[in-house]
Every structure is written in structure tokens, then in C-alpha cells.
Amino acid sequence: MPSSNQRIEIIRRTYYDSVTLMLVAKELLKTGGVSVASLSMGTEANYKIMGSGGFDLGGVDATPNDLIIAVKTDVPEGEREALLEGALEKAKEYLANPPGRKADSGGDYRPKSLDGALSVLPGANLALISVAGKYAGDVAMDCIGKGLNVMLYSDNVPVEKEVEIKKAAAEKGLLVMGPDCGTIIVRGVAMGMANACPTGPVSIVAAAGTGLQEVHVQLAKRGVGVLHGIGTGGRDVRREVGGIMCLQAVNALLADDEVKVLTVLGKPPAPEVEQKILQAVKAGKKPAVLGFIGGEAKGDSGGVFICRELEETAAVAAALAKGEDGARARENLFREYESLRQRAETIGRRKGFLRGLYSGGTLCYEGQLIARDILGPIRSNTPLEKEMKLEDSLKSEQHSMVDYGEDEFTQGRLHPMIDVSLRAERIYEEAKDPEVGVILFDVVLGYGCNDNPAAGLAEGIRKAQSAAGDRIAFVASICGVDTDPQNASEQRRILEELGVHVCESNARAARLAAMILEG
């Protein structure tokens, strides 16, 4: 009987978080001979993902509380047995000592209940919840019941549940940041995917994760720190949720004497929510900047500045924090943007289409707005207008920008800020298209992100360059600072050595990329 090319082992009643499991699976793939590796809890969704990965799941009876380790190999039959056995052993070793753990926290006591956790850490005031979406809502309600503020990193929490959680929290004067909130900063402490920037006079309320990261970083580049960065999750400012937490956070920060400048960020809110935010901010009598990316609202009034882009928002907020003129800071910035045309000239104009490959959703959105003004319609899996939606997110058409942080790319996979391999492959794929003239991408740094994203993307860039020669110009922005675990200067050096044109912000990178193709 031929030996199977797969091995599946079930470890009963054992739970690991999805990031740890996917990091272990990724490590296993580095083992020579392992062609597919999957570690997941035995949920229905995971069965489907494993099935589509080519595993034969006949006879597998794992429940959602059981861990499934599955490995496949493509080595010749005689070598399979030993290789698969070795891979399973390695998986268990990695689980005991997970890869990528950046601090020595392995031996710390881990209470099994919330009450246990509260007795270990009396005075706890925040729960950081990142369990699977189907459990996250109930866990958040338990935490609110115990008087904890909540950061809800988890996504796939139904909107009705979000409203229920937020109403319960609002009654108790608690914050719920999320669901789908990737980044927060409280008194300078960064949580989720967030940068190691200084503390200072600006505070931010953001319905946009990478938007918060970009503004945090842009403020740091201007020598201005952030005290609080309150994420709300993108849905908060929509009609269904009504901006409950955005308004709660805005009012809290307006009342906080330590906050000298308030910034509110996100895609444009529902009109009635936008009005409420505007009213609250105007009544607050504190310098404020509203950065509604691509919004229609215009005109600064009474100390409240309205911005349409992320770096613009940061530039104005930084000026206000320094007691300078916000309007002049904006003018100066847009003058600097004009000089990018000269840089495009120096790089050398290219012909053809722009292909943007993003890990940050807000960055992709902003990139489209900027490039559209210069090049015309941009197609995307997250388009500005419905009719510009890509039929297949894996196949670009004309000018395209793809957000790899969308659910379609993250089901059963690590977020692209942690695993850059899909984008590295796509860079090469795009380069093979003879109609492509510029490839644009973001590199997002900070806690919770890949240790060395530039090195991971470099593999794709080298292959792309050997396929396309000088036909394609590569443009990137790095959302990070030198104090980040990855060190922004070091990341920049890696990219520049490959000839990538690195810009100081996403707004600049999108402009430069489009200008190279202009005319």
C-alpha cells in the first residue's frame, strides 16, 4: 500500500491563538520537503480552508476545542514517513516555544478565568481581546460586566452585537475600541499594531487603523508626540452604530487638560455622525483637526481644521501643537508635494499602468484618492466607487490598487502586515505584465508587525526586476520610525539598495508613483 503524503494529528482540548498557529505553520514550511502545513482549531471554517489546501479530512473528528496539525509533503514515497513524523514533532516543539515571540514572557502565570486575571492584576482597567470573532462579543460583554474598558482587535463581530456592547459600555462610562480595531495608544503605550513613537500633546480618535499609525508616525517625524490614540473600529461612525464610541472618546479627550490638540480620523462618517462630531469639537474650544480622508467637508473655522489626507492632518496638528499656523503648514506641505514632479522627472517617466499593493486599508484608500486625481479611475478590491471593483482581486486591470488586509486575503492566513509573502509574490506577478510601469507598495512597521518586511518584499522585487528590467519603477512608503522594533532607517536601506524610491509618507508615495506615469 502506498504511504500517504499527508499526516494529520488532533490534539484534544488544546487552544492556541490564530496568530501563533499561523506563525508555527509558516515555520514548518521552511522545513525542506513540507509542501503544505496547517495548524488550526477544528471549526467548520477551518475544515473548509484545510480542504481547499488539498488535505483529505476523511475520518478527522476534531471539535472547535481541538487543535488540528496537518502537514503534506511532495518528497518521494520512501522518504515521506520520516519527514512527516519529523514535521509533526517540530510543530509541537514550536507550539511549546512559539516563533517570533519578541519578549521573554513565556514563563509568566496565565490565569484561566477573568476573575483569576483580575486577582493577579488588581486595578486592571483594559481588556485587549483578540479571540475569534464568534466568541469576541461575549468575552467583551463579560469584561464590561467587570468594569473593564475594551480593545476589540477581533473582527467578524456582527454589527448588532457591536451596538449591544457599545451601549452597555457607554452606560458604564467605559470605552469599547473596536471591533476590528488594530491599533490603540494609551498614555504612549502602543497596543496591537502600533508604532513606538514619543508621547506628547496630541491625542487622536480614529476609525481607521493604519490611518492612526500613519498620523502617529507623521507627527513623530515632525517632533510631536501622541498621548492617546483611541481606535473605534471603522463601523463606529456609520449610521448603524451612530458614532457611539467616537463621540464618547472625543468628549473624554476634550475634557482632558493634558490633551492640547485633538485629531479625529477616518473615512468620512455618516452625515449625521459627522455633524455631531463637528458640534462636539467646536463646543470643546480646543484646537482640533478633523481628518476625514477624501471627505467633502471643507473650510477651517474657529480653530477646527478640516483635512482630506493623513499627512496633511498630521502636518496641521503638529503645527497647532507647536503654536504655529495650521493653514500655513498645509500650504507648505502641498508645495512640497509639487516638487515630487521634479523627482519623477529625475527617476525617469514610465509608460503603462500603476499597480498598488497595500497592507494598510486606509493607506490603500488614500492612495486611490490621490492617484485618481492624477491618472483617472483606479480599480481595486476596495474601490472608491462600486463600478471600479476588480472582478478578481488576484488580477489587476489597468490602474489598480489592492488591499491585502481585506477578509478575502486574511481568512486562514496571517495579516499582510505580519506575513508579506503574498504581496512579494504579487509584485513578481505584476512585473510580468508588459503594460505595468510602476509598482507601489506600503511597508508598515511597529509592534505586532513583521520583524523585517523589507527583506520579505525584497525577494519579490528582485524577481520582478529580473523579469521587467528598467521598465518598472518601484515606489514605497514606510509607515514607521527608527525606534520601532524593525528600525525604519534599516528598512529603508534594504529597499533603496534595490533601487526602490522610498517616500516619507503614503501621500507622497502615491503622488510620486502617479506622476512617474503622468503625461
Partner: protein, 60 residues
């Protein structure tokens, strides 16, 4: 503004981490006060709680 939120903003975060272990490690790197729970679906409400509620209502 109510006490709980203000306390968080004034005192800084004291965090119960429930889920991704890396976030706990990152908090430790920043010397923030934190504890990480050994969370499992069945031990923390979720499905079990929903099933119990259903049973109480006479469902199955």
C-alpha cells in the same frame, strides 16, 4: 466624564490580554502592567453560554 474611562486615560493601561500572545509580549517590552489569560473557548462563555441560554429557554 465617567470614572472608568478617565481612570484609564489618567493612570495608563493595566491590561488583561485575551488572545494573541504577541500583544502581551509587546506590552511587556514596553514595561506596561499586563496579565495574559490562558483563554479557551469553552472556559470563557461564548458557545457554552449561548447553549445554556438556549436550554433555559427550552430550545436544544
Amino acid at each position: 466624564m465617567t470614572m472608568s474611562m478617565t481612570k484609564l486615560l489618567k493612570e495608563g493601561p493595566k491590561v488583561v490580554n485575551i488572545g494573541v500572545e504577541q500583544f502581551y509580549a509587546d506590552l511587556k517590552t514596553q514595561k506596561a502592567e499586563a496579565v495574559s489569560m490562558d483563554w479557551k473557548p469553552s472556559a470563557a462563555g461564548g458557545d457554552l453560554l449561548a447553549r445554556l441560554k438556549k436550554l433555559r429557554k427550552g430550545g436544544n
